[in-house]
């Protein structure tokens, strides 16, 4: 906290006003409407008149919807595997670069590049690169027909969108983990080296435990990002479009489709609230259980 502060009533009010106005309009008002829509229904035969309060009806109809449960399952599979693979690869890369061998700056320079690209652009590129008829996988398919076809098999489509996500986000996590590794005192790892422990032993016994705060932060960040982030929607929209047979119909994609193609605002709002609840549970569980094992300096 600051010791020195200015005394004025209107200066802070004026300075805060633009932000207040914006978050009121584009954050709090929409949040209130989500609540309103989730518990009410548009009157039949056109929009005139008050919305009708229906209690939990919108939720019960969402819960009865098999497509909704499918999207929950798909989202969980996508988020868990993307988060795990991304963090694991980023950790290996960060440990490798942190050994500071000759030329590691050169590698570091390129590793962040994929993060500059938007999800839909990555999706467009990989749709071509990993297409069954051309690009890389066509050769494999020529030898073993039907070995790879994301347009036909749900599991392949899932692998395709996970690949896009991981390819883009590894560089981002890498940057954070490398910064974390570099803040570990050199004297510590050097002392361990003098005692005769090799690079792998040092990574397991010193570096990774010291990294847990960073890993924890990234875990929450990437889990949320893969669950509801902008890339998830963009990748699915440009590659599989939720298919085949809803195998990649993640929750954000399902909500937008429901609202803007099905024009079911109440159903979409109920689903949005469910996503929000899940994010909160995510965050809570992570703080409650993961943080206990986290080493803080």
């Amino acid at each position: 906290m600051k010791r020195v502060v200015f005394k004025s009533r209107w200066v802070p009010a004026v300075a805060a006003l633009p932000q207040l106005l914006l978050i009121f309009l584009f954050f709090y008002w929409p949040a209130v409407s989500v609540m309103n829509w989730a518990f009410t229904l548009e009157p039949a035969f056109g929009g005139a008149g008050e919305r009708i309060f229906v209690g939990w009806e919108n939720f019960t109809s969402v819960f009865a919807d098999t497509q909704y449960w499918n999207s929950v399952r798909v989202s969980l599979i996508f988020a868990c595997s993307s988060t795990f693979i991304t963090l694991a690869l980023a950790l290996v890369l960060a440990l490798a670069v942190d050994r500071q061998l000759k030329g590691s700056k050169f590698f570091r320079f390129f590793y962040i590049w994929p993060y500059a690209l938007a999800g839909p652009a990555v999706g467009t590129a990989f749709l071509f690169i990993l297409s069954p008829e051309r690009g890389l996988m066509a050769i494999v398919n020529a030898a073993h027909p039907d070995f790879w076809n994301p347009a036909k098999y749900g599991s392949h489509a899932m692998i395709l969108i996970i690949t896009c996500f991981v390819w883009k986000w590894v560089g981002y996590c890498f940057i954070f983990l490398l910064a974390g590794l570099q803040s570990i005192p050199r004297s510590l790892t050097e002392a361990a080296a003098m005692d005769g422990s090799g690079p792998l032993r040092r990574a397991i016994d010193i570096q990774i435990p010291m990294l847990t705060p960073t890993l924890f932060l990234l875990l929450i960040l990437i889990a949320t990002e893969s669950f509801v982030g902008k890339d998830t929607y963009g990748i699915v929209d440009r590659t599989t479009y939720g298919g085949p047979n809803n195998a990649t119909n993640v929750m954000v994609f399902n909500i937008v489709a429901k609202a803007f193609e099905g024009l079911d605002y109440s159903g979409a709002a109920a689903q949005s609230l469910m996503v929000i609840a899940i994010i909160m549970v995510f965050t809570f569980v992570q703080f409650r259980f993961v943080e206990r094992r986290v080493h803080y300096r």
């Binding site: 600051k2 020195v4 200015f6 004025s8 200066v11 300075a15 805060a16 633009p18 932000q19 914006l22 978050i23 009121f24 309009l25 584009f26 954050f27 008002w29 929409p30 949040a31 409407s33 989500v34 890369l93 490798a96 050994r99 500071q100 590698f107 320079f109 390129f110 590793y111 962040i112 590049w113 500059a116 690209l117 938007a118 652009a121 467009t124 590129a125 071509f128 690009g135 066509a138 020529a142 390819w167 940057i175 954070f176 790892t189 080296a193 090799g198 509801v228 902008k230 929607y233 963009g234 440009r238 954000v252 909500i255 937008v256 609202a259 803007f260 949005s272 929000i276 994010i279 909160m280």
Partner: protein, 295 residues
């Protein structure tokens, strides 16, 4: 390091090289594909050599997705969001850090809460308010005074609609708050003793000190805004406001005959170039901004 570990070094280099290949090969494939003819791009096995139809493909992509206009719109949008967000968040961080009042804490938490909900989950009601941004005020006036006001403020298919909801989030506020906390108290004290008011202190001392942070934040915001997809996709129906990212939709390969992935890849490359240049050229700032905004 003080030790000799030839085996571990070989393994490390192997990891570094494999990762570099995995990062760069997709770029190379897209570059090659964007210069090949339709027949070449569909050939099995794929040829990792650039073809000779580069100019033709890029011209076709430019025309098909109206990329001149789309890139212009994206630059306008990214520029407005970047400058708007920096201005708004520097101001509100100033209000939070340098003044004490009971409203300060309330305001801080109001801003903090917005981090919990990304645009993707509240996109439907945000769309609704963008279609009629005056709706809450109309309701307010009506309940307070009973007067029905007939003012509409439709933000769909406007630059304000493209940018304002993206300016509203709080990441920048936290970066500035964090930074202002590290500015020595003596500066504000000295400024006050010399008789300068809060505005003077903000403009003449605080802002010049934050230049580095602003640049770091600007690189992130630019790339981030350029890469927005869902919001422009939903709210823009008038093609004269479509952005580079949404132009990807117009670029999908044509269905009749062989799919012309060469044109699609050429267009995609043009579209991703600006943020890629920011990351490659201003990497130091970009990385600094990334780490600073998430702490």
């Amino acid at each position: 390091m003080i030790e000799k570990t030839p085996f571990a070094n070989i393994v490390t280099y192997a990891i570094l090289f494999v990762a570099l290949t995995l990062v760069l090969v997709p770029f190379w494939i897209v570059i090659c594909a964007s210069t090949q003819s339709v027949a070449q791009v569909n050939a099995v096995p794929f040829s990792f050599v650039p073809g000779g139809e580069m100019l033709k493909n890029y011209a076709a992509a430019w025309q098909r997705a109206d990329l001149g206009l789309a890139l212009f719109n994206s630059f306008v949008m990214a520029g407005l969001v970047t400058s708007g967000k920096i201005a708004v968040s520097a101001l509100s961080a100033f209000a939070i850090v340098y003044f004490r009042s009971r409203w300060g804490m309330v305001f801080f938490w109001l801003v903090f809460m917005t981090l919990m909900l990304p645009l993707e989950v509240r996109v439907v009601p945000t769309y609704n308010i963008a279609a009629d941004a005056f709706q809450p005020f109309r309701l307010l006036i009506q309940t307070l005074t009973g007067i029905e006001v007939g003012i509409d403020w439709n933000l769909l298919n406007t630059y304000s609609g493209l940018t304002l909801p993206l300016v509203a989030t709080a990441t920048g506020t936290f970066l500035f708050r964090q930074f202002f906390m590290t500015v020595p108290d003596e500066l504000a004290e000295a400024a006050r003793m010399d008789g300068s008011g809060p505005w003077r202190f903000f403009v003449d001392i605080l802002l010049p000190l934050s230049r580095t942070n602003m640049l770091a934040l600007a690189t992130i915001l630019f790339a981030d805004t350029w890469n927005q997809y869902l919001w422009p996709r939903l709210m823009v129906t008038d093609p004269s406001y479509s952005t580079a990212m949404t132009a990807l939709r117009a670029l999908r390969p044509s269905e009749n005959g062989l799919p012309d992935w060469n044109v699609t890849n050429a267009g995609a490359l043009i579209i991703v170039l600006p943020p890629l240049i920011v990351v490659a050229v201003l990497q130091r700032w970009f990385v600094r901004g990334l780490i600073a905004t998430e702490k």
